[in-house]
Symmetry: D2
Subunit: 243 residues, 4 copies
């Protein structure tokens, strides 16, 4: 089983009618819903308004892959929690940053860059698959039409991705590295651009497939307790001593 | 002119006789000394024990390429200063992290990883040039012998480098990605492993050449004032309106 | 099922006693043997001395992952076959190049570089895992001791790998990028350095695990019939016509 | 001085009126013309219709950076010449592949992939700068408008670039990795997509700046005579013998 936690700031979902209409029950539950179709996933949700921002240590330590959606309330995530999430990634947890999570504290800590970009509401996107042989693109079409999505445009201030899986084309004239992976510490990181709160992207089956694939891809292989710099005795000296 | 600031925690140089004997006048001055041979460099030093840790805003903003050496006193660098250095890199400044700076706050912020590794004093290193066509390897031999250097061994917890320029071989049995580059924001970053405070590496002419090359390579090409996410009007809409 | 073909030039195995003693029945059969322990693999062998060099079209087209070992007889592989193998990789087949296959025609065609390196017989290698979170490193130790292996040393003339999974340390003083991956076309490529014909590396359980992992990792996800440059009608024009 | 050779298949320029009107005197001469404005460049042209296809050994060996434009006559370039060009790149020569040279023999040999893509005449392109801190992007705007250019669309079958410098947006709905770099052997390679023979891209000052920058960037740093796999005596053994 892969233990998945869908974290959501859950702000527009409680305050904005358009968001509520688009994602009844909250976007985190919509995402959890389609992830649950994968029988190997054990899916939880967690939201900012819950105690400990939904991520007490026992939940975070029990999570294999974390999905993160935030937008208006990045600053309400305590620095300490952001550091814990980041550190857990370095120790092996997979993490998927969705859409406006590009400016979230954990993403910025993980990238080591500003993660700034250009933006505009209500554009039309065509998402191109650039690396169809990547596990995250499994079963994904040559391109996906998203009739209404927020434009995110270059220059996206990220480190050069280890793998560029999807490129976004916007009708207004911009391009974007919309699906990128990085190894970070022992964890795997995927950033995926579609998913504005008033746009239907998470209802799109191809988008759901991508996120589901990404969870599988990001599942931990190695997980450690502690990050440290051990003193390391000379293997060659030991060898001489043993002979 | 490239404005270079050599920053040094300057601790062992004031407290440890072996360090003083190895780098009379302080390691920062030894490094500044060989950099000054390049007539296009305007070289300053700055140390942790100076006011504002040697890096008040007016110095940091006036620096094109910063070199950073720290080891025992990483924690004495205020978080705020580390963030400023990191942010200045993202806005375009070049930075070269030397040896034990792998655990410095600015390096860890810039990498987004733990930067942990294995270590051992007093080993022997052979530094291999893997990417001789890289500007940082200009004029550098196939390998460099360092009779006495601190062993740093894999796994080095860094993001996959954009370019792997040098690989270290240690007599005790370890390997290390000893010279790595990354684009980070608008800045260029080089990490270079040799340089323990009681070892003579910075007196080695080949090492001096590498660091000099790295300063030239890291010199800023684009420099911005502010990192932000601008709203961006549709270029295609403007186009239609203009026609 | 993953259809695996182990291709071997099978020269030393027929002419050299030391090789025969090390790999009774031929190295290809030893490799096929441990791969067959994975129940999802359907394993065949093919050798240069067979008809069509062991790789008639019907075999090649029926192969998901090809392993390639060659050394003394690279030139006996017809250019046409090398091109077919290369083209099949571009259409999606996975391929694993073992040891001296670094100078094989298919590897050089796939890399687009000379693949030259330094070498010396009968050294001792310690293989370090640099990317433990990579599928190919699953279950692999921090390092593997190979008491006797051929030294391959840098500069290894390969394109910068997409992923550097293993680094080799040699007692004689050299380092080597011993385990590297690349996406090439729709195929996945793994190069793995250990495996000299008179050394016991393919009897090493950790080495067997790496090669088994690599086969799984390289299994095709997308496979196409033909590589071409299609004329592509404007999606936006179609869209306007449909509205 | 950087010795630059602009190679052109020079076919449309001799047979097609639209091309002749767009690039009077031949596209190679137009390109050579703007390159000559850089006083450090010594610029030659060479065309397919000349003796030895314009590239006898003495010219090729005397070239630091080669530009290559071909389209309709890729097959008329002898395999032997393509191999020589490729091999010279591996020995250190810089090379810039322009537009339809994506299907040229030297590019395909150098990439090791099929280099296929989608295409359509007479679209409109907006070329975005993704890596403004790269030497090839020096002085280049945030984006360049190309009113009429051939659409090249993803999936572009190239190895993951070492650096992705420019991304193309096309009005018809496609995206393209339009400016990419690779280290290949000791040479540096830049692919740049604009430049259809009946479109005015090479008259665009920003495009000229990019190509000029690319020539400087690709100038050789290390150049060798021969590619081989030397036997290499143990450095550690020598060391013991010397002590």
């Amino acid at each position: 089983m892969i233990k998945v936690t869908v974290w959501h700031e859950n702000y527009h979902d409680r305050t904005d009618e358009a968001t509520q209409a688009m994602y009844p029950g909250g976007m985190h539950n919509v995402i959890a819903s389609f992830l649950k179709k994968d029988e190997e996933f054990e899916v939880r949700t967690a939201t900012l308004d819950e105690e400990n921002c939904g991520l007490p240590d026992e939940i975070l330590e029990d999570t294999d892959v974390l999905l993160w959606w935030g937008h208006a309330k990045h600053d309400d995530v305590p620095d300490e929690l952001a550091k814990k999430v980041h550190e857990r990634v370095l120790r092996g947890m997979g993490i998927i940053f969705l859409h406006s999570a590009h400016m979230s504290k954990p993403f910025r800590l993980t990238m080591g860059t500003s993660c700034t970009l250009k933006w505009r509401d209500n554009d039309r996107e065509r998402l191109w698959t650039v690396l169809p042989q990547h596990p995250i693109a499994k079963g994904v079409d040559e391109y996906i039409e998203l009739e209404s999505e927020e434009m995110y445009g270059e220059r996206f201030d990220i480190p050069q991705p280890d793998e560029l899986v999807f490129l976004g084309w916007f009708a207004g004239g911009e391009v974007f590295r919309s699906g990128c992976t990085w190894y970070k510490g022992l964890g795997k990181v995927f950033y995926f651009q579609p998913g504005h709160e008033t746009n239907p992207s998470y209802h799109n089956e191809q988008v759901q497939k991508i996120i589901t694939n990404a969870v599988r891809w990001a599942a931990p292989q190695v997980m450690i307790e502690k990050l440290d710099c051990p003193h390391y005795a000379s293997l060659e000296k030991k060898r001489l001593e043993n002979n």
